[in-house]
Symmetry: C2
Subunit: 361 residues, 2 copies
């Protein structure tokens, strides 16, 4: 059996580790013959689940790591003190070329910092972004980036996010020419801050499929495949959506529970079909964010993801390896940079002055 996709996985991060992680590996292996897992974690904690879920012996390797990074660890502490942690070792597997991709349910900030330090960034990208998958009403999905890695951004960053997000949408949704929009307070071209205005000008000149500004309520309607914004706004956008959807689901449940016997019976009848509709919206169905712009495919699963959710995150990692996403991003970046699109004045000035002074930036 040829096992061409090598996935390294941190078995210790998240609320349901290592049990849910190992079960997800088992489930993924059952339908994906081309994959081999390197599982990093405390052997005595992980092994019982490996046995329980009967992972096939020739399809995984369990590497013992005595340390684990917790959700409370500060990223800088995790970087300094977590040299033997399962998270770090799993990332090192990608760094050393032993794995094509790494998946973790652990501490987001620590994962980003360690991955950035060990793997570095692609080409001119200085700010890796977190790209998440957001469900929309077209029974489709929208890539949103940045979700919170960079609270303040320049138009160059947003342009790079648009380019990387387009590659992600192509890989995940098989869309040849994904529609890109900028999150804004209005759809008219005069709206927004200087950031949105400047990014608009760059994207308009680019060859991306740019459709303009998108308002908060239009994303759920499926207006775009890729939504770019700074990490502060992206985080607010996602959590506000999550809060409102959660509140609505709770209200539907409460109005069934508070009802009379007939209402309760009716609720039972509808439970299945409503549940089915909402499945598409669940965090598990959309689990697996990519840290884009790193020299390596790093996938972050929700800390509280269920087995289904982790299977989805693994599946995203697998798809991105198959698509060879980072090569695609490098090629597109080189193409745009050759044309000078996406460099802001500050960058041009920096580059020019560096040339004059004979310095490398």
């Amino acid at each position: 059996m040829s096992q061409k996709i090598l996935i390294s996985i941190d078995a210790m991060g998240g609320a349901n580790s290592p049990s849910a992680v190992v079960e997800a590996i088992g489930r993924f292996l059952a339908t994906n013959g081309d994959t081999f897992f390197q599982i990093y974690g405390k052997k005595m904690d992980v092994l019982p689940y490996v046995i329980l879920h009967q992972l096939p012996k020739n399809r995984y390797k369990l590497i013992n790591c005595d340390e684990a990074i917790s959700d409370d660890d500060k990223p800088t502490e995790a970087w300094r003190n977590g040299k033997n942690s399962s998270m770090r070792k799993a990332i090192e597997a990608v760094q050393n070329g032993q794995a094509h991709t790494v998946v973790s349910c652990g501490n987001t900030g620590a994962l980003m910092l360690i991955a950035k330090m060990l793997l570095g960034t692609i080409g001119n990208i200085k700010r890796p972004a977190i790209a998440g998958v957001f469900p929309n009403m077209k029974k489709d999905k929208t890539i949103v980036l940045d979700m919170g890695a960079n609270l303040e951004c320049s138009e160059t960053h947003l342009f790079q996010f648009a380019l990387m997000g387009s590659c992600f949408a192509r890989a995940l949704f098989q869309k040849e020419n994904p529609k890109v929009g900028i999150l804004n307070v209005g759809s008219e071209t005069s709206k927004g801050r200087e950031l949105e205005q400047m990014t608009y000008k760059i994207l308009e000149e680019s060859e991306l499929n740019f459709v303009g500004f998108v308002e908060g309520h239009e994303v759920a309607q499926g207006k775009v495949d890729v939504l770019v914004t700074d990490g502060f706004s992206g985080n607010i956008f996602l959590k506000a959506s999550e809060g409102a959807a959660g509140a609505c689901i709770d209200l539907v449940k409460a109005s069934i529970e508070k009802g009379n016997v007939i209402a309760k019976l009716a609720g039972l009848v509808l439970k299945q079909s409503i549940g089915k509709s909402f499945k598409h919206l669940s965090p598990d169905a959309n689990n697996g964010a990519m840290f884009m712009g790193l020299k390596g495919i790093v996938i972050k699963s929700h800390g509280s993801a269920s087995v289904d959710g982790i299977v989805n995150a693994i599946s995203t990692a697998h798809q991105l390896v198959e698509y060879d996403i980072n090569t695609k991003i490098s090629e597109e970046l080189a193409l745009f940079e050759a044309k000078g699109v996406g460099l802001n004045f500050v960058d041009i000035i920096k580059q020019t002055s560096a040339k004059i002074l004979g310095l490398k930036e």
Copy 2:
């Protein structure tokens, strides 16, 4: 009959004007004996509805205005060219002391600009904010500001928003000591941009009931009574929530409609109780945003508000006049400014240099 509350109203703005506006006035008058309306609009358009809804003759005055500002007008155009418009005339009634408050369903940007130009701002407030009402799961409501008037803000602005929002919450919800939070990407004190960090320091020192940072999904849970943020983030927050809630409601409807006969029957049974639960969330139930910081009570109704929604906006205006909100805001501002709380370094430097140079700012 003593009519102590004088409300001036722009009958021409919004999608359902003047019919819904006039009907709302009639409905409000039926239960509020203390109110007198000055209705500004095209007489021949408005009069038929006045007759239809039998407005009592001694409770209103209809003032003819041949012009109306449309939603497509740019604020600056509306200011320059709309001198005889119903919106401007309605605001002038407040400016001239003929009315206590003004209500309009019209163009938000135009209403803000004209109101700011005619009425001016309270004390040291240079940036009026739009404060909206956001429903939460405690069957309670949260004041959110700014909703989009000031896309970029300083910590001084956010402090002033916190103070004004607290007055709003006291007036509207009769809460003695409303809880104030700052919208942020995380609840830990280290999280956020410089704006959130600096605002935290000011609010911590203030005597407002400051509870710290609030994440996007925690607002719907009712964590705070007043949520402060810059206008860009506030707008994204509200529209994202609106989009997600709308998507959920559509999904519930679709799963009932697509179901079999039994599902449809069950849907009929539940329709009423679900509808009742969701009523609290509807834009109409939360209609009526205040433009805070102006020398005058200016209430903006949704452009697409129904009669119920406009009645709620009028009711908010009425409550704020009764509470004498602007006097309360002025008093609190003076109190805090006497202590030096809420002035940032730039303000202090400006004030000091103005004193040295013998200039007024």
